[in-house]
């Protein structure tokens, strides 16, 4: 059994307010092992993004988390803001949703990857350039062509791949991808999902948050289904997706286009809320 990279025990996040505040995330338990691939799936407002923020230390200040989020043996909820920031790029890498907004508009994309090697891996200029060229080639980009362009001169898909090159360049082994396929067309969605799998094969531990069952199915690995602040079902992706046991997960499947696009009945949702 591989070592535990991330262990979440009883993570609860409350919004500020009277009588303790509204519960946004309720008693989450998760274990992700080194080199693993984990998908957290849930609808908008289920609290999955709050979980990602708690994991990466980007939770808004007014939210008060409780429980434990042990990352590499350190409980990051007990760290100061400064200590949490020191993990960024070194221990964990947050793969953002929109590459156009994440890339510096006035810097050539290859240089934005090279600087990770230089600053975080202390590589020489030459080595940084060489490593970047290698990563670009692996992701189907050319360092001498696309690399010399600015983000606005590249397509969304290419910029997306530049972000993946950054994730690979980073010394961080734990990659958190928050809705990496949001707003993408089906073809691009499949490519991005495959790139996430590629990151995992290259040795990174990947934690992916999505609302898309198809992404979860294509990724594989372990899966947790989040519904109304709680995790309602978890296990290896193929088992959960093959034989969903929770009514919400079953409902999600019925709602897939190939299964007839049946909406989840409101009555069922109301019943489940009482659970």
């Amino acid at each position: 059994m591989k070592k535990r990279m991330l262990e979440v025990n009883d993570l609860t996040v409350r919004a500020p307010g009277p009588t303790g505040g509204k519960i946004l995330v309720d008693g989450i338990d998760l274990v992700i092992r080194q080199g693993g691939l984990f998908t957290l799936i849930g609808e908008t407002g289920s609290g999955k993004s709050i979980v990602a923020q708690a994991l990466t230390g980007t939770l808004p200040e007014e939210l008060s988390p409780s429980g434990r989020v042990c990352f590499d043996g350190v409980d990051i909820l007990r760290l100061s803001a400064h200590e949490r920031r020191s993990l960024w790029g070194r221990k964990l890498f947050l793969l953002p949703q929109e590459p156009e907004r994440a890339l510096d508009p006035t810097m050539k994309v290859a240089a934005q990857v090279e600087e990770i090697f230089k600053v975080l891996r202390y590589s020489s200029r030459r080595k940084a350039r060489e490593e970047t060229r290698r990563l670009f080639a692996r992701l189907g980009l050319s360092a001498s062509n696309e690399g010399r362009r600015y983000p606005c001169q590249l397509s969304g898909g290419m910029n997306q791949r530049v972000l993946f090159a950054m994730a690979l360049a980073s010394p961080a082994n734990f990659i958190v991808a928050d809705e990496p396929t949001k707003g993408l067309d089906p073809l691009l969605k499949r490519r991005v999902t495959d790139l996430l799998g590629e990151l995992n094969r290259l040795g990174k531990t990947v934690f992916c948050i999505t609302h898309d069952l198809l992404v979860a199915r294509r990724l594989g690995g372990n899966l947790a289904v989040m519904f109304r602040t709680r995790i309602v079902e978890k296990g290896p992706a193929e088992i959960v997706l093959e034989r969903p046991s929770h009514p919400y997960t079953q409902g999600l499947f019925q709602a897939l286009p190939e299964n007839g696009l049946h909406p989840i009945p409101a009555r069922m949702l109301q019943e489940m809320q009482g659970v």
Binding site: T56, T58, R85, W88, G89, R90, F93, L94, P96, E98, R101, A102, L103, D104, P105, T106, M107, E115, I116, V119, L120, Y150, P151, C152, Q153, M166, S170, A172
Partner: protein, 318 residues
């Protein structure tokens, strides 16, 4: 590269149009003001008592002030296009030579003023932009509004009173040494810094709020690398654009400040020309100011394109 050439050519064409407009306007303004020009020149050269009608007619003939306005305009325009700015009506010296001499003084003052404003605005603006709404930001905002509201001659007179008359540290007027430049440069620089500090602060705060800046931080970058590579460069674009606009203020300010400190620059030359109704001087100075303005804006545009080839000059960052 093609974009750079396009920017330069469009600016050159623009420069020509501006020069033509400036020149024509000064010609029109000088010609529609009431009073007999030839008589005024005669008075300026001799004195009121000794001027005779014969002298006035002679001057009218010599200086080409006779005939219909349009013919005079085209004759003058043709000369100007050959870079012949004519001679001063008052002292008969060639305007071109005098302009170059005077311009070198204004350039020195403008350069020193810009340096002062940079030394004040960049550190103060960055410090304000990094922590918006905090102490430094509040302080610089208050200082900026007060200084923007004060006309530069008030600041200048204040400096003269304190540093020249009271403390005797620096000379109040003149142009023989670098010590003479301190007070006019400070007056000009502080006036410029009042506005540019806020622009730098806004630009820095804006870049910091952008997702690419936060993401650069999440990539693990920090400290000076983050500020220099991802902060300053992006913030520099609006600041540089402003610098071009401020240049107009710089030239306006030069008239006031040069007069106040008896600095022999272009501004004073223009003012003297206007007061003496010395048309070639006014037209020449107007042309040079117009040209300088266009040249500075072209330089700014080229710099902006070089910093970010992805955008059109002047366009705000997305």
């Amino acid at each position: 590269m093609g974009r750079l050439i396009r920017v330069i050519t469009s600016r050159l064409v623009q420069g020509f149009v501006v020069a033509l407009a400036v020149a024509s306007l000064t010609f029109v303004v000088v010609n529609v003001t009431p009073g007999d020009l030839a008589l005024q020149i005669a008075v300026a050269r001799h004195d009121l008592e000794s001027v005779t009608p014969a002298m006035v007619e002679q001057i009218r003939k010599e200086e080409g002030l006779e005939g219909p306005v349009m013919r005079r305009y085209f004759r003058w325009l043709a000369r100007t296009l050959r870079f012949d700015l004519g001679c001063s009506l008052v002292n008969g010296r060639p305007v071109g030579e005098e302009l170059i001499h005077r311009f070198s003084y204004t350039a020195r003052l403008a350069g020193a003023g810009l340096l002062v404003s940079f030394l004040l605005a960049v550190p103060l603006g960055i410090a304000s932009g990094i922590r918006p709404g905090r102490g430094v930001d509040r302080f610089s905002e208050l200082l900026s509004s007060v200084l923007t509201a004060l006309p530069s001659f008030v600041i200048g007179v204040f400096f003269v009173l304190v540093f020249a008359i009271k403390l005797h540290w620096l000379p109040a007027a003149g142009f023989t040494g670098i010590r003479h430049m301190v007070l006019p440069a400070l007056t000009l620089g502080i006036g410029l810094a009042a506005l540019s500090t806020r622009i730098v602060a806004t630009a820095v705060a804006d870049v910091r709020s952008r997702f690419y800046y936060r993401f650069a931080r999440m990539k693990g970058l920090g400290g000076m690398h983050l500020i220099l590579r991802h902060g300053i460069k992006n913030a520099a674009i609006p600041v540089l654009t402003l610098l071009g606009i401020q240049f107009a203020h710089l030239l306006d300010g030069a008239v006031v400040i040069e007069t106040l400190f008896a600095w022999p620059g272009m501004g004073r030359f223009l003012l003297e020309g206007i007061l003496a109704r010395d048309i070639p001087v006014v037209q020449g100075a107007g042309l040079l100011i117009g040209f300088t303005y266009v040249a500075v804006n072209m330089a700014v545009d080229v710099l902006c394109v070089a910093l970010s080839p992805s955008r059109n000059p002047g366009e705000a960052p997305p």
